[in-house]
């Protein structure tokens, strides 16, 4: 008969022996560096570099309801892990993004300006518009509703303009339109499309009103379907959340805060109800865009000094698709505070 104390002692020995199988050499310095880079800032992330919205009682109530709904209805679900192999997005759609200032050649300071890149899952980013040594800011990419054109803002000492490029399956075509605009000093003149995709609009820097331009450079009168002033304002939803294209959900990211330790994507109705927290295997620093069909969100990460983007499905099974992986941080990285990300609505 097995003696009780002996069994526990033997079990402990066997468990210790089993644990010892996991001992292997490791590089503490490398682990530390990666952990610090992955951890992100020691503050709550998900707050974009937008002007702080004016807090009123209404939003305070929304915030409280949101917190209560989150604590009461959160459901932990599975999520994919780090290092998932690259997969092509279901629609092979392009994603356009602008970049932050980057490191210059070795020994030089941070370089100003901004680039625009096109990327799709499984492919390397394509440079559409370059910063030209830090002298040019290319910002606010925006696909037309049919996905066949890409508009973005260009600003330099020579002035400001909105550029519209044609987009095909191979990237940007040579069909380019450049519309000079009057912006407000250094601020970018971010374009927005009319609902029929034939006109672009921007906020005039001097008067703060919406100017509509035809793709032939004309200045037609505004009509129904043209962007309005409210379309140019940043999201003022709580926690830096972004609203889905269908308007029925919002999403934001958390970092190590309750109710989910570690990074999580939270999806809820616009009133904060039905909140679900999806644990992530990564710690993104920003949530930048919804997919046009409202089924995925695009997250950005800085993993060990390499910029990555992944698309996360907001519904089960919460698939994760790498869009851009391991781009050196001195290269193309996108900060929502500097510009925008635009997800092509329909792949040509």
């Amino acid at each position: 008969m097995t003696d009780r104390p002996d069994f526990e002692t033997r079990l402990e020995q066997r468990l210790r022996a089993r644990g010892a199988l996991a001992s292997r050499p490791f590089d503490a310095a490398s682990i530390a560096h990666h952990a610090i880079a992955t951890a992100g800032p020691r503050r709550r992330i998900g707050t974009l570099a937008w002007p702080v919205p004016r807090l009123d009682l209404g939003w305070l109530v929304v915030g409280l309801l949101l917190a209560i709904a989150l604590l009461g209805t959160v459901a932990l679900v599975g999520a994919h892990l780090l290092k998932a192999p690259p997969r092509v997005l279901a629609s092979s759609a392009w994603i356009a993004y602008s970049t932050a200032p980057q490191k210059g050649p070795a020994g030089t300071d941070w370089q100003a300006g901004s680039d625009i890149y096109l990327v799709r899952a499984g492919a390397q980013p394509i440079l559409i518009a370059g910063r030209e040594g830090g002298n040019v800011w290319n910002l606010c990419p925006a696909f037309s509703p049919d996905g066949r054109r890409l508009a973005f803002s260009v600003a330099s000492n020579q002035g400001q303009a909105i550029v519209v490029d044609g987009v095909d399956a191979n990237g940007v075509s040579s069909d380019t339109v450049r519309i000079s605009v009057r912006g407000s000093g250094r601020l970018a003149v971010c374009p927005r499309w009319s609902s029929d995709g034939t006109r672009v609009a921007y906020l005039d820097g001097g008067g703060g009103f919406v100017v509509v331009r035809g793709l032939d450079g004309s200045t037609p009168a505004t009509v129904a379907g043209d962007p309005r002033a409210g379309d140019f304002l940043p999201s003022n939803l709580p926690n830096g959340a972004i609203l889905s294209p269908t308007g029925d959900r919002m999403a934001w990211i958390t970092s190590g805060d309750p109710p989910v330790p570690g990074g999580a994507l939270v999806v809820a109705r616009p009133d904060g109800a039905d909140a679900r927290a999806i644990p992530l295997g990564t710690n993104p620093y920003a949530i930048s865009a919804w997919s046009p069909d409202g089924r995925q969100v695009l997250l950005m990460m800085d993993v060990g000094g390499a910029f990555s983007m992944e698309a996360v499905a907001v519904d089960s099974p919460f698939d994760v698709t790498w869009v851009v992986g391991d781009v050196g941080v001195s290269g193309a990285r996108s900060w929502p505070g500097w510009g925008d990300v635009s997800w092509q609505p329909v792949a040509p």
Binding site: T2, R16, F26, G256
Partner: protein
């Protein structure tokens, strides 16, 4: 001429203070001292070396962010191991959808090793695989990390007495499953 000699605090308490202030080298010292312990505990919980490694790697960014919340430097080891164990439990739960629980066939066979020991290791692995993640964590923290009842309770969110009772039931179960009578 007098000089002011500032004693260098090279204890782990000093490393914690420096790491909390953002010193990456000090953080690496903490990792050097405890990474192996965390990996062992995670492997007993996960049963898979890759998943265990993933759990430990996932723990370190969390630890970096929360280091300032550690009030008592003497609690560093149980605090670190608890975070790693929690990550391991979460990874296991996420993978529960898999119909087959894979037993990591670790290359432990060495020339001259008694095959009976190899079989025993597989029996233990199988028995662990049939436990839920909380029970695996309980065993790993108690017998691999050497936690006492209070530390176990704190790590698992239970009272010390409740933890002892659960451990006793677990031992009875394993005694039956691993019986060599």
């Amino acid at each position: 001429m007098t000089s002011l000699v500032v004693p260098i605090d090279d204890t782990l308490a000093g490393a914690i203070a420096l790491a909390t202030a953002g010193d990456e080298t000090a953080f690496a010292r903490i990792i050097q001292a405890h990474h192996d312990d965390m990996a062992r505990v995670c492997f007993v919980i996960c049963g898979d070396l890759d998943i265990a490694e993933e759990a430990v790697q996932a723990a370190w960014p969390i630890i970096w962010r929360k280091l300032a919340s550690l009030r008592d430097p003497d609690r560093l080891r149980p605090w670190l191991v608890s975070i790693a164990a929690n990550e391991a439990r979460q990874l296991i739960r996420r993978r529960r959808r898999r119909a087959v629980v894979e037993i990591s066939v670790v290359a432990t066979a060495t020339p001259g090793v008694d095959p009976a020991l190899r079989i025993g290791d597989l029996d233990l692995a199988n028995a662990l695989a049939r436990l839920d993640p909380d029970d695996r964590a309980l065993l790993a923290l108690r017998y691999v990390a050497g936690f006492d009842s209070t530390e176990l309770g704190r790590a698992l969110g239970r009272s010390p007495s409740g933890t002892r009772a659960r451990l006793a039931r677990l031992l009875e179960r394993l005694r039956t499953e691993l019986s060599d009578d």
